[in-house]
């Protein structure tokens, strides 16, 4: 969609936060306990807030300039740059947009927020001053998201037999998608060279340490085949899963039915 790696990079961030925010908001009113309903709403709100800043910034660099809503509601799926993991249904890999599995949802938040804490920390030093400012705000939110999901990973892993089984199953399903956080890629390399971003690969060791530590405390197992897996999702370069089209159809339906409207 775009030839500009700077815009592309901002879209990755803006779309990843948007799409996970969208998925989390599907939980609204359906949480396992009221406090969690509220917590997930909070996290979704943070993410959508981050996305608005990032998409607005990306849109301002485009020719012609685009608003956050033009980017959110009127792009086709190949234009989106979120990590594939974040578009997966809340229920896991099988189809079912509105089914909900709390273990899958929490485990995804855990793996993603552990990554984002590291990424936002690094981006706070970006030469793109606007991105640096967003990162400074976002890192605090991401720390809360990580704490929230880590607490639940511990409860699940070290809770009941059932919760342990569910958490391990979710982890096994999700981990292959984390390779995308670290896969080498020209956009990230160029942005790193320009001092605007850093390559995801450089975060891998710290991320793995953080995640493995929590999993160990939670008595959950890191699947040994992870390192050898050749599976590579590619949402960050615009190739998504089959689930994404359904998410977009729903998210964009109203805006697209009234393209002229102001809301």
């Amino acid at each position: 969609m775009t030839e500009n790696p700077h815009i592309d990079y901002l879209l990755r961030l803006g779309d990843s936060t948007l799409i996970l925010g969208q998925r989390l908001s599907e939980w609204c009113g359906h949480g396992p306990v009221l406090e969690e309903d509220i917590a997930l709403g909070n996290i979704a709100l943070d993410l959508i807030g981050q996305s608005r800043l990032l998409l607005s910034h990306a849109g301002s660099l485009m020719q012609p300039a685009q608003t956050e809503d033009q980017l959110a509601y009127f792009r086709e799926q190949f234009g989106f740059r979120n990590f594939t993991m974040l578009e997966l249904p809340n229920s896991g890999l099988e189809k079912g947009q509105q089914q909900r599995d709390y273990a899958f949802t929490i485990c995804r938040n855990f793996l993603f927020s552990a990554y984002m804490v590291l990424l936002w920390q690094a981006l706070a030093a970006s030469l793109d001053r606007q991105l640096a400012a967003i990162a400074e705000k976002a890192v605090k939110e991401a720390r809360y998201h990580l704490r929230h999901s880590s607490d639940w990973m511990l409860r699940f892993g070290d809770g009941t037999e059932e919760s342990h089984r569910r958490a391990q199953q979710a982890l096994n399903a999700l981990l292959p998608y984390t390779h995308e956080f670290f896969s080498a890629d020209a956009v990230e390399q160029q942005m790193a060279d320009a001092g605007i971003a850093i390559a995801g690969a450089s975060l891998r060791a710290a991320w793995e340490e953080q995640v493995r530590g929590t999993l160990q405390d939670a008595t959950l197992e890191w699947p040994p085949q992870w390192a050898d897996s050749q599976f590579r999702s590619s949402g960050k370069s615009g190739r998504h899963s089959e689930h994404f089209g359904f998410l977009l159809a729903e998210m964009q339906s109203l805006a697209r039915a009234h393209p002229e409207a102001i809301w």
């Binding site: 396992p32 509601y73 009941t160």
Partner: protein
């Protein structure tokens, strides 16, 4: 009894009754019923609005709606906590909801069919809720009164947001304006019914008045709501679906048409458009969440937490 006398003296002096104070069983029961019903309404009320978060037509509206629904969850929390001070646990209250013994506001048994319903609910339903709730800030039971003070502040914020959605639609394309009018058509009468039966057929009201739980009668609140809302509809350029609606110079109030109480009773009795859906959706969420709550308890036990 002496306790009864002290209780009545406190009421007479408009002093708050607190959790540790003696109170008549019927007072306690009435409060638990009312507060838990109010809490349940907040929770069930998350569903009709939650229905549109994923389809909100702009990111700003999405964030505002998400925050609003979250506030409703928060209101539910305060209210369950207030009810718990009276000795009933949240689990007991949820049981009563799921088994049909406890009620929630009938308004949430209507479906949200278009985005304009997000406007209409904020403007009308929250508007009516505020009319009902402001007097509760002076309720004789302290924990409830204090919860209501917080809630009312947020509700009036929500009401303004709802009106703002309506305003955008009414200033928008013809399709948007039509959407707004349709929403008003569907929500008007159910909202007017939110104030409950006419005073002469509202048997529990008198006792609640005496106890300082209820402060203003159903019909008085309803009139107040209509008087406040009609000019707002005019401002929006929308017409209220009541041909009998007319300013009565003499009364200095709007006259309005006959309420279809058979519909009210039908929805209250469980035959409304979404009664079964709302309750079964909540029950499913609760059941699906069992393993999560169990995991949290097991973990807390193992690790000596609370």
């Amino acid at each position: 009894s002496q306790q009864q006398a002290r209780f009545e003296a406190a009421l007479a002096k408009e002093q708050k009754i607190e959790a540790q104070d003696w109170m008549p069983d019927a007072y306690r029961k009435t409060l638990v019923r009312q507060i838990s019903q109010h809490a349940h309404s907040e929770i069930i009320g998350m569903l009709p609005e939650g229905n549109w978060i994923t389809r909100a037509p702009s990111l700003k509206r999405k964030a505002i709606l998400l925050a609003k629904v979250q506030d409703e969850g928060g209101h539910g929390l305060y209210l369950y906590a207030a009810a718990e001070t009276l000795g009933t646990s949240r689990e007991q209250m949820l049981d009563a909801l799921h088994s049909g013994r406890a009620k929630y506001s009938s308004i949430f048994n209507y479906p949200t069919l278009t985005w304009a319903d997000m406007g209409a609910i904020g403007w009308l339903v929250d508007g009516a809720a505020i009319m009902n709730q402001v007097p509760l800030c002076r309720c004789s039971y302290g924990p409830y009164a204090r919860a209501m003070i917080r809630i009312c502040k947020e509700e009036s914020f929500h009401q303004r947001q709802g009106f703002d959605i309506m305003l955008s639609l009414c200033k928008g394309t013809p399709a948007q304006k039509a959407m707004a009018q349709d929403a008003l058509n569907r929500w008007w009468w159910p909202t007017v019914m939110m104030f409950g039966p006419n005073d002469d057929s509202s048997p529990n009201s008198r006792q609640s008045m005496e106890w300082g739980i209820k402060r203003i009668s159903n019909d008085a609140l309803r009139q107040k709501f209509i008087d406040a809302t009609v000019p707002q509809a005019e401002l929006l350029g929308l017409s209220i679906p009541d041909p009998a609606l007319k300013w009565n110079e003499e009364r200095s109030h709007y006259d309005f048409g006959e309420i279809d109480w058979s519909e009210f009773m039908r929805v209250l009795g469980g035959d409304g458009p979404c009664n079964k859906e709302r309750l079964s959706t909540r029950m499913k969420a609760h059941e699906d969440g069992t393993w999560v709550r169990e995991a949290a308890m097991a973990y807390a036990k193992k690790h000596g937490g609370k």
